[in-house]
């Protein structure tokens, strides 16, 4: 394989081969200085596999919690939020933010889907539709499409495959750690020519090269000049692999920092999505330690890296971490939990208002469990997203009700979040 020596000059040179790329960067830089709304940043973290909300934010004060959860119930080791709720001990950075009034939990949210299928529920979570197969593009993509009519806006997907939430008509950039482009090669220009009538490959290559140029700047701005060494999110390391887990956390923090570098660079994306998997804990879920604890530590490190990396821009930022569904209220026969309904969403960011839990707590009383097995939802996830998009990014209500979350007028935006 050819040795690729990345340098800022090479990378910018590659981008310069396409006039559009630098114009794009310049236009973005100009737009970003225009007004307060343009500074607002939004990051959506998808936790795939059905993240167990009752372990993310255990309701220690709920009298039925310990009995339902048995061996996977958390106790004093959890990080207290209030008289009822705590955060998992792996979520230490998120907890510090919560103590500072910059993080809140929504403990019983769900999408409108009730099929308990990962794939349907993820589709509904990401398309923003009321039911599966109703939409083929993602709600963040339609948000970009809507905002782009009024102002310059751009979006970034982090990871080797683009999540559905960002796919659609509006262009978006994507980036994952790897080698940088060799700016001296002719191949990019020749391919651009060969792709001039290709609706898929042409735009993808142009955008990919522009993003590579931004990556070099992003990494330089957070002190990771040169090549990205960050590992991509992968399944949780097995129990006992502590050093692997620490390496994973260091990489996760760096991933968060690099994303922050992108977002605070002049002309950087205001909207980003990142997808983490490995939350499907049917067996040996663990309590303070274990499979889910390791995965939450990874999530916490990404969030911490993002927070630290954004520095002063954190005050303009909202992050939502959400999952397709929660898990059964009762522990199952194998020390894990099966597919359920409501789960916890995390809201973080310096732009948030201080406050308690978002939405009501249905309690874990046997009579209130959904279908006698799952935590019952009290808040439609779309209401949460709509509230943040309206108050933080200034998206208008009609677009939210009709195009971004189709036929959702009855689902009111949650107000007072930012």
């Amino acid at each position: 394989m050819t040795q690729i020596t990345p340098s800022r000059r090479n990378v910018l040179g590659a981008a310069a081969a396409f006039g559009v790329s630098l114009q794009f960067l310049a236009a973005q830089a100009f737009a970003a200085s225009e007004g307060a709304l343009e500074k607002k940043k939004f990051v959506f973290v998808i936790c795939r596999g059905g993240m167990d909300g009752l372990t993310v934010a255990p309701p220690l004060g709920d009298p039925d919690y310990a009995g339902l959860r048995g061996p996977i119930a958390l106790g004093d080791e959890a990080l207290k939020l209030d008289g009822t709720f705590a955060l998992h001990p792996s979520l230490a950075a998120a907890w510090r933010l919560a103590r500072a009034g910059e993080a809140r939990i929504a403990p019983a949210v769900a999408t409108p889907d009730r099929a308990r299928s990962h794939f349907e529920a993820q589709d509904v979570l990401e398309t923003g539709a009321a039911a599966v197969y109703a939409e083929s593009s993602g709600w963040l993509n339609r948000t970009v499409e809507t905002l782009a009519r009024a102002r310059k806006v751009s979006a970034l997907s982090v990871g080797p495959t683009a999540p559905l939430v960002l796919r659609g008509k509006a262009p978006y950039a994507s980036w994952s750690p790897g080698h940088l482009v060799d700016g001296s090669a002719r191949l990019p220009a020749l391919l651009q020519d060969l792709y001039k009538d290709d609706p898929l490959l042409g735009p993808a290559l142009a955008r990919g090269l522009a993003t590579e140029a931004m990556a070099a700047q992003a990494m330089a701005s957070v002190g990771h000049a040169g090549e990205a060494a960050a590992m991509m999110p992968s399944a949780a390391p097995g129990a006992g692999a502590r050093s692997l887990q620490q390496q994973g956390q260091a990489a996760a923090r760096q991933l968060g920092e690099t994303l922050a570098g992108f977002m605070k660079a002049p002309g950087g994306p205001q909207i980003a999505a990142i997808s983490l998997d490995g939350f499907d804990t049917h067996a040996n879920e663990g309590a303070a330690q274990g499979q889910l604890g390791a995965r939450l530590a990874y999530l916490d490190a990404v969030l911490d890296g993002l927070h630290q990396g954004l520095g002063p821009d954190w005050k303009d930022t909202v992050v939502i971490a959400a999952t397709e569904f929660g898990r059964t209220a009762r522990v199952n026969g194998t020390g894990g939990t099966d597919h359920g309904t409501a789960s916890t969403a995390l809201l973080l960011g310096g732009a948030l208002k201080t406050g308690g839990i978002v939405g009501d707590w249905p309690t874990l009383k046997p009579s209130t469990l959904f279908e006698n097995r799952d935590l019952a939802p009290t808040l439609d996830m779309r209401g949460l997203f709509k509230g943040v998009l309206a108050e933080h990014l200034g998206v208008d209500r009609a677009a939210l009700d009709q195009t971004i979350f189709p036929d959702s007028a009855a689902t009111r935006p949650v107000t007072g979040l930012v």
Partner: protein, 482 residues
């Protein structure tokens, strides 16, 4: 829809149905494109890649033995950091060896794909291995993904779907991957015994056993219905999933307490089976043991919803992300008319005019791109380092799809801007290594035949170097698609 002319059909046979053309292959296929494909269908199934002569059972037994001796070693050296450091090295070595099993299997499979003259047969096998996904997401499953494919999938891919289904769902790798091994009927003798010990509170040493509640895990039951048979719209309820999970209790893997021959092999533990009759999707199944779950799987395999769901997936894989309904209908008819004979379904696919649309609608997955690049170069990867890093960077980590749904099929999942840039970088390096004094114009003609567009042919001809010309071929719109 009329068949394309024979030249184009030959190119389509080798690149869309197959895994990409090796030099000379399109010429052979062009003589009789459909006949060339049909000749690759055979009753004994797909080709087997070598797994070092080791079965899944052997791999599971080795891993358990290693874990036990490691536990013992840990206890012995606890509190003595010097000894601990010394003991860690052999542990690392053993873990590395176990990982090498997985890497070796994956490399062998990629070499088979890169070199086989029966590219359609291999693609057909890869489709089924993705349909019945087992992912190397933990050490325990990583060592058995390869043997799972050679033992449970490949022998059955041209047999009856029912046999393939039963082989896949009862194989130790699947039982481990979707947590079936630990699932115990709540009213089974085993769970009753455990509960009894707990109530009597016998001795502190037994406490962990009592605390480990024994009970159901519905993961495999749900995914069989949702992903492997009737599909999520197949008309089942949560109650059906739970009933099916109850019926499946008892499916497990032989451990160290049973007879030597059973270690790592699939076994049925009647003591863990939930007693009683079951009702799944409106059918009652008599109380019993293994035959109960066998009957349910057989019924699921025969359902028309299963034929529709799986035939839709076949059409999506081979022809288009949104396949023509007429094609799906043809496959379904062949399936239902033959009792799920997969050889008949494969032949119906070959015969279907919709499958020969001259426009290539499928964007290659990273694995398909990599394999077809090797085939175009008439080469084969020589080490795991040549294949694993690039596949991981492109989002298709070897043997490790992120969920039981397997790898996605649609172009949107694989053609993100970043991924296209990474494909280009790979093509640059690959072309420099493999072009080796050959004429890229000739390589382009051999790789794409009548599918080669004038624009690509001109770009390759104008290239300033051989590697540049070959890289342009690999990145051309028509090579990226099939």
């Amino acid at each position: 829809m009329a068949m394309p002319d024979r030249e184009l059909a030959g190119a389509i046979a080798a690149t869309r149905f197959g895994l990409g053309a090796r030099p000379g292959e399109i010429g052979e296929a062009t003589r009789d494109p459909r006949g060339w494909l049909k000749a690759q269908v055979r009753a004994e199934g797909a080709d087997l890649f070598p797994t070092g002569g080791e079965t899944a059972a052997r791999r599971i037994a080795d891993l358990r033995e290693f874990q036990q001796s490691r536990q013992m070693a840990k206890r012995e050296i606890a509190g003595d950091p010097q000894t601990a450091a010394e003991a860690r090295d052999p542990v690392k070595l053993a873990q590395k060896m176990l990982r090498q099993d997985t890497a070796g299997d994956f490399l062998a499979r990629t070499q088979l794909a890169a070199t086989t003259p029966a590219g359609f047969r291999e693609r057909w096998a890869l489709f089924w291995s993705n349909h019945f996904t087992v992912a190397a997401n933990k050490l325990q499953t990583a060592t058995v993904v390869g043997p799972f494919e050679t033992e449970a999938i490949r022998p059955h891919v041209f047999g009856r779907f029912q046999d393939l289904l039963i082989a896949a769902e009862t194989h130790p790798a699947m039982l481990l991957y979707l947590d079936q091994v630990q699932s115990v009927g709540p009213d089974s003798p085993l769970a009753q015994r455990a509960a009894g010990i707990g109530r009597r509170g016998v001795g502190a040493r037994l406490q962990p056993v009592a605390q480990r509640t024994l009970g159901l895990n519905e993961n495999l039951a749900r995914e069989i219905m949702e992903l492997h048979t009737v599909g999520v719209r197949g008309g089942y309820t949560q109650a059906d999933v739970t009933e099916f999970a109850r019926a499946m209790t008892g499916l497990s893997i032989g451990g160290f307490r049973g007879p030597e021959a059973e270690i790592g092999a699939p076994v049925f533990r009647l003591a863990a089976h939930e007693p009683g009759e079951r009702s799944v999707m409106g059918v009652r199944y008599r109380a019993g043991g293994r035959e109960q779950v066998g009957a349910i799987l057989t019924d699921l395999a025969a359902k028309p919803q299963t034929a529709r769901f799986v035939c839709g997936k076949i059409a999506r894989h081979f022809v288009a992300d949104e396949p023509p309904p007429a094609l799906v209908a043809r496959l379904e008819k062949a399936w239902m008319g033959s009792g799920g004979d997969l050889a008949k379904v494969a032949e119906a696919l070959i015969a279907a005019p919709e499958a020969w649309n001259p426009n290539p609608a499928k964007f290659k997955t990273p694995y398909e791109f990599l394999v077809s690049s090797y085939r175009a170069a008439a080469a084969s990867p020589q080490g795991i380092q040549q294949v694993a890093p690039i596949l991981t960077a492109l989002g298709q980590k070897p043997f490790a799809p992120g969920s039981p749904k397997g790898w996605p099929e649609d172009a949107g999942a694989w053609a993100a801007p970043d991924a296209v840039v990474k494909r280009m970088q790979f093509a640059q390096g690959f072309a420099a290594l493999f072009v080796q004094g050959r004429d890229p114009k000739r390589l382009a003609a051999e790789a794409l035949g009548a599918r080669l567009s004038p624009a690509t042919a001109a770009a390759v001809a104008r290239a300033e170097s051989r590697p540049e010309g070959f890289a342009l071929l690999l990145m051309s719109p028509e090579f990226q698609r099939r």
